[in-house]
């Protein structure tokens, strides 16, 4: 049961990461990247590392996404749609 959950989480992380790479919209890409962090939180928790899971939840999905989004809003005004 736990093995199935681990496998499912691994596969979903891979799928979400592929989506983040292949996505054309950069905001969507950042959101999918946050999904990668979310999957890692679940994995760290299953593998009995709650400290690392907490760090990943706070930094990987919280602060880094906010900083990425602020950076995108900051730079996208000069970007030309192509």
């Amino acid at each position: 049961m736990i093995g199935l959950l681990i496998l499912f989480t691994f596969l979903s992380i891979i799928i979400v990461a592929l989506g983040a790479i292949l996505s054309k919209d950069i905001t969507q890409s950042v959101m999918l990247f946050m999904g990668v962090g979310l999957g890692s939180v679940v994995l760290f928790f299953i593998f009995q590392a709650p400290d690392v899971a907490l760090t990943e939840a706070v930094i990987g999905t919280g602060l880094s996404t906010a900083v990425f989004l602020l950076g995108i809003r900051h730079t996208s005004q000069e970007e030309v749609e192509s």
Partner: protein
């Protein structure tokens, strides 16, 4: 021959390599054993009685591998300095944004701010008892400031207090490390009393809660400064374009 043209050799090699990686990963997952008596984790768990902290990870992070935490704090300090250098090139006064914020947004963000800061302080203070610690709690406090800045762009942080807290906590960390060197003959030595019978209490583990409070203050103030630079820079841009 046509197959060779449509499938370049690079793709074939890449697919073989990735499938081999996936198979080895599956093989590793299949043979996860429950008896891992000779692992590094068990050695540290046996040594954990020396530091008398309920959370064994904490004793590794701040005591056995304390020098790594010093490096971590240094990296964070350098990153903050880099952001400050890059984003504040001159002494500029930020123009006020003339935008009427909604009452609900203002009050709600202030209400949430206190709760989030309380949660961050809880994570920092209970670092030696439950998962979490100075680094995580400091970042939680910084996200509270991020919320405040997003809700109210005209907000100004008192930079002198932040700088004071950051430098005082940095000096206190070095001071604690050097006192350990003189009293226990070991850098970052545990010179406060840490009896094993007190394990699980709030005041236990000697200097480990002290170190975590210091690291929490340092990380929180540095992250708050980084967040402020990012948000303020963006508003500067908006005013220039308007």
């Amino acid at each position: 021959m046509s197959l060779k043209k449509t499938l370049p050799i690079k793709h074939i090699v890449l697919s073989i390599l990735s499938s081999a990686l996936l198979l080895s990963l599956l093989g590793l997952l299949m043979q996860v054993k429950t008896d891992l008596h000779k692992s590094v984790g068990d050695i540290f768990l046996n040594l954990n009685m020396q530091t008398a902290t309920a959370n064994a990870v904490t004793s590794v992070v701040t005591f056995f591998r304390g020098i790594d935490t010093v490096g971590e704090v240094t990296v964070l300090f350098l990153a903050t300095s880099g952001v400050a250098l890059m984003l504040s090139t001159s002494q500029r006064t930020y123009a006020k944004i003339i935008k009427q914020d909604s009452f609900i947004l203002n009050v709600g963000s202030r209400l949430l701010l206190s709760v989030i800061i309380l949660f961050g302080a809880y994570i920092i203070i209970h670092g030696h008892l439950s998962p979490g610690g100075g680094f995580q709690g400091g970042v939680v406090i910084a996200t509270a400031f991020l919320l405040l800045f997003l809700a109210n762009p005209n907000m100004d942080l008192n930079h002198s207090i932040l700088t004071l807290g950051e430098s005082l906590s940095g000096s206190a960390y070095v001071l604690v490390a050097i006192i350990g060197l003189f009293k226990v003959n070991m850098l970052l030595g545990n010179f406060l009393p840490h009896p094993v019978s007190e394990i699980g209490n709030l005041i236990s583990g000697g200097i480990i809660p002290v170190i975590y409070v210091i690291v929490g203050i340092k990380v929180g103030s540095e992250m708050a400064v980084i967040v402020e630079y990012f948000v303020k820079e963006e508003h500067e841009k908006e005013i220039e374009n308007a």
